[in-house]
Amino acid sequence: MVKLIPLLFIGSFLFGFHTGTTDPCEGEKIQKVEKKGLRALKISEIPAYLTELKNCKHKAKVKTITKSANEKQLIKDAENSKLFVGKTSGCAYCVMALIVYLAFV
């Protein structure tokens, strides 16, 4: 029993090692995009995101990830800017008035 203790000790170290080989399809940037959307990535983080996508061997999964991210972002953008009221619409009225004036006068 006593002889087993060093064996268990070494064994616990061996099994305790973190190999650092995480699945690239579940990478940090991919998860960030899935949780917060495509625009949550800073411009400097885009190469890392693309590298993670490139390293992901399951091409079908890559396609699903990118398609889902694009679709979610397009919906989010449309939702954020669907209202056109208040001060921002003022510019539109000015532009339209100016164009109509220039076209007919």
Partner: protein, 230 residues
């Protein structure tokens, strides 16, 4: 005493609100494309001035556009955009280059009537620039004599002169943008460019001269751009 503390509190609140708005919508976009317009170039046109080299449709009616914009609010962007018109040719032995740059400081508001589709409205004060440039590769005999005396062989010495003029303007445009991806879109715009151009006071080597006449006071413009953004 209370009023003394009111101002910084309000200021801090405003700074906080604006910072949150700005950092919540960080969106830069860059566009590249072309435009079509039909200016009356007056004495810059070979039809009315025989000195000017022949003019193609590209040089007369086409514009090359680029610009950068920043979305600072969910419905608004500011930026800098430029539309350039080029004409090149020969006058005598010299190379002739004419550039008209329409430089716009854009303020654009927009909204999405549907997913992927955006309608935008642009107002842009402009500070435009016209350049006429002549470059000639002349063999300056005196330079060659001098350089020969130092043991050099004959050298081609380019000489050039540039005539410039700046003027203000205003652009107003309505556009439609279709997003292929969240980061790639095609944008078409139509509108007017107004210019306060006068042929007086062109500059050549710090001397003020009369320049070409152009009728560009009110120009209808059509643009199409490829937009890359994040």
């Amino acid at each position: 005493m209370i009023q003394r503390y009111q101002f910084p509190t309000r200021l801090i609140l405003w700074v906080f609100c604006l910072t949150v708005t700005v950092t919540a919508q960080p969106k830069w976009s860059f566009h590249l494309g072309g435009g079509f317009y039909s200016p009356t170039l007056g004495t810059l046109d070979p039809d009315s001035n025989s000195v000017i080299p022949s003019l193609s449709t590209f040089s007369k009616n086409m514009l090359i556009d680029w610009g950068v914009k920043y979305q600072f609010y969910p419905n608004a962007r500011i930026g800098y955009a430029r539309s350039n018109s080029y004409h090149t040719g020969k006058i005598g032995d010299s190379d002739y280059v004419r550039t008209i740059s329409y430089r716009m400081f854009t303020f654009e508001t927009f909204y999405y009537p549907r997913k992927r589709m955006e309608i935008n409205f642009t107002l842009a004060p402009m500070y435009n620039k016209g350049i006429l440039k002549l470059t000639s590769e002349s063999v300056a005999a005196d330079w060659n004599t001098l350089l020969d005396s130092y043991g050099n062989s004959s050298v081609n010495i380019p000489t050039e002169g540039e005539m410039t003029k700046r003027w203000f303007g205003l652009a107003s445009m309505v556009g439609f943008r279709y997003y292929i991806f969240p980061w790639l879109a095609v944008d078409g715009k139509a509108g007017f460019i107004q210019n306060s151009y006068s042929e007086k006071k062109w500059k050549l080597e710090n001397e003020k001269l009369d320049g070409p006449t152009m009728n560009i006071k009110k120009l209808p413009v059509f643009n199409i751009h490829l937009v890359l953004g994040w």
